[in-house]
């Protein structure tokens, strides 16, 4: 049987979540089977698309047959496909977990249960649109759809702290959007194009106006990706949100903003990635790595620890920019993409397992978590596997990603960045190790009777963590594909 063509799959991936979310919102009811069916369908479509890209490679789609500049181009790239796949897997896991997490059909929890899935589908549609878009303005619209849905998801938890965090997130996110749009305007004023490919051929790296545009685009995205020192909104928003929401936001939404940075700096802005720009971005990354890591070490609440770890891990991802200044950019781009995918799977698993452990323990404090006993042991297993992937132990996906970046650092003789990478890995090891040590050696008995942990609260986290661990085995094929990937990605 032939799979549907890539063109059909792309349209399904972008329109189905938006249509399903609108219908579910309008109907006011939310049959669990229907929402899970939509999530499953999206996952199957993403897997089919992944297979097509594996066979056919990159493809370009003109929506409605219109050519640029008035028409809109969608581009299915290998790195975008990796992100689409990670989104689908994390999205499905989050949907299943959400169905099991919001138990009551009435009261505030019932409202959360009804609104969670439609909002998540809106964010999913925005993410998918972002991963296939190939022009500056469409990306702005996709970013806004994603941000608005994410803010509403944080505000799902009606506690005042969560609402305050959502407000801070909204203001930071919108200010990021305005600055991004300023960059779009500056570049459009200079060249009269929005399309990535056209921009890549026309861009003059030494023109001050274009430089200002590139700076504005980057600062806007740094705010959205919560890169130090613009990370201030993230720990509150991700730490205070409901667990399935934290998983989706930390795993995917931040990664999407960062992916866009990769897309820009390895695509149309590639000519501007000189020593100064690369070093500046790398220094910001090193700052995030250190700041996020140290604060993660100091946290007493489980979810805040995981949230600060996100700040730290995206600092690590920023190190791709200095490594890509000279030398071969393809393995660096492949490493960066795999790092994002690894983080998406492992961080989502960590947040989902954290939500389960907090429910089982009746407390968020790390010292009061239940130990490796009963059904909670499955959640702990997920935490251990996800930690291994985040640290980058072989054979996880995190190992493959970090290996690609370490190799690039060695071949370029970038010893400083190599030291930063090793230091960051040690810091990750330290705060995750402290969590496991505190929680497992000094376990609390937990409330009695112990809360029921259904398979929906345990299986999604465990499966995501397992995926992060085993996909590393195939990732070295991707490294070989990395050479093909370099030819196929525009402008790199």
């Amino acid at each position: 049987m032939d799979l549907p063509s890539t063109a059909v799959l792309v349209v399904v991936l972008v329109t189905l979540p938006l249509a399903a979310a609108t219908l579910l919102f309008a109907s006011g009811r939310q049959p669990r089977t229907l929402t899970l069916a939509a999530a499953l369908l999206l996952t199957v479509a993403a897997l089919a698309l992944g297979w097509n890209v594996h066979i056919e490679g990159v493809s370009v789609h003109r929506i409605g047959g219109w050519a640029a500049p008035l028409g809109i181009h969608w581009q299915v790239t290998p790195s975008g496909t990796v992100m689409l796949l990670a989104t689908a897997l994390v999205g499905l896991a989050g949907a299943v977990y959400g169905a099991g997490y919001f138990l009551h059909r009435a009261g505030p929890e019932g409202r959360m249960a009804r609104v969670f899935m439609p909002l998540w589908l809106f964010a999913w549609g925005g993410l998918n649109a972002l991963f296939v878009a190939a022009d500056l303005f469409n990306l702005y619209v996709a970013l806004e759809v994603m941000t608005l849905a994410s803010v509403a998801l944080v505000a799902l938890s009606a506690r005042r702290m969560a609402l305050q965090a959502a407000m801070r997130y909204l203001l930071a996110g919108l200010f990021g959007s305005v600055i991004y749009l300023l960059g779009v305007a500056l570049l459009y004023g200079q060249y009269g194009v929005l399309d990535f490919d056209a921009l890549a051929t026309m861009l003059d790296p030494d023109d001050p106006g274009s430089r200002a545009g590139a700076v504005a685009l980057t600062v806007g995205l740094l705010a959205k990706a919560a890169i130090f020192p613009l990370h201030f909104w993230l720990p509150g928003a991700h730490g205070r949100a409901e667990p399935p929401v934290s998983a989706l936001l930390s795993g995917l939404v931040v990664a999407a903003a960062f992916y866009l940075m990769l897309r820009l700096w390895f695509g149309p802005l590639a000519g501007m990635l000189n020593f100064g720009a690369g070093t500046l971005l790398g220094v910001l990354g090193a700052g995030a790595l250190l700041w996020g890591g140290v604060l993660a070490l100091l946290q007493r609440r489980l979810k805040m620890l995981v949230a600060y770890s996100t700040v730290s891990q995206f600092g690590f991802a920023m190190l791709v920019f200095p490594l890509a200044v000279s030398g071969n950019r393809a393995p660096v781009l492949a490493g960066g993409t795999l790092l994002l995918a690894n983080h998406a799977l492992a961080k989502a698993a960590l947040f989902l397992a954290a939500g389960t452990l907090v429910r089982a323990s009746g407390s968020e404090r790390i010292g009061q978590l239940v130990g490796f006993s009963g059904r909670a042991r499955w959640a702990w297993l997920a935490v251990i596997l996800a930690s291994a992937a985040l640290i980058g132990l072989p054979p996880t996906l995190g190992f493959s990603a970090k290996w690609l970046l370490l190799q690039a650092a060695v071949t370029e003789g970038a010893w400083w960045w190599l030291a930063v990478m090793l230091g960051g890995t040690l810091l990750t090891f330290a705060y995750l190790g402290r969590l496991l040590e505190l929680a497992l050696l000094d376990a609390a008995p937990g409330p009695s009777p112990p809360p029921v942990l259904t398979p929906a609260l345990l299986a999604p986290a465990l499966l995501l963590a397992l995926l992060a661990c085993v996909t590393g085995l195939w990732a070295f094929d991707f490294e070989l594909d990395g050479k093909a990937l370099a030819r196929l990605e525009p402008g790199s």
């Binding site: 500049p69 008035l70 303005f137 702005y140 619209v141 806004e144 608005l148 803010v151 509403a152 505000a155 009606a158 005042r160 609402l163 305050q164 959502a166 407000m167 909204l170 203001l171 919108l174 200010f175 959007s177 305005v178 749009l181 300023l182 779009v184 305007a185 500056l186 459009y188 004023g189 009269g192 929005l194």
Partner: protein, 92 residues
């Protein structure tokens, strides 16, 4: 001395953006912050339309972008206002 066409609009857009950014950082009241954000956004819209106007013909693409941008700004403002209302209701 005559200024190049559009200079006034460019200056106005820069001023709006600066006022908006300043307001976003300095104002304490959330409603003012949201309004400041809208002022900054208007500055960017003005820049886009001005850039589309330079030359003898009018480029339709910036206009399309600004139209979409206005819809986006309207939606984000609505969400922000909704959030502010919910925050006020939960004031301890």
């Amino acid at each position: 001395m005559s200024l190049p066409p559009g200079t006034l609009f460019l200056l106005a857009s820069a001023l709006l953006f600066a006022i908006g950014t300043h307001g976003l950082v300095t104002c304490r009241h959330l409603l003012r912050k949201v309004l400041a954000l809208n002022v900054a956004t208007t500055g960017v819209f003005l820049l886009l339309v001005t850039l589309g106007r330079s030359g003898t013909t009018v480029d339709p693409v910036p206009h399309a972008m600004v139209l979409t941008g206005i819809v986006v700004a309207l939606s984000t403002t609505a969400v922000a206002l909704g959030l502010i209302v919910r925050l006020e209701r939960r004031r301890p």
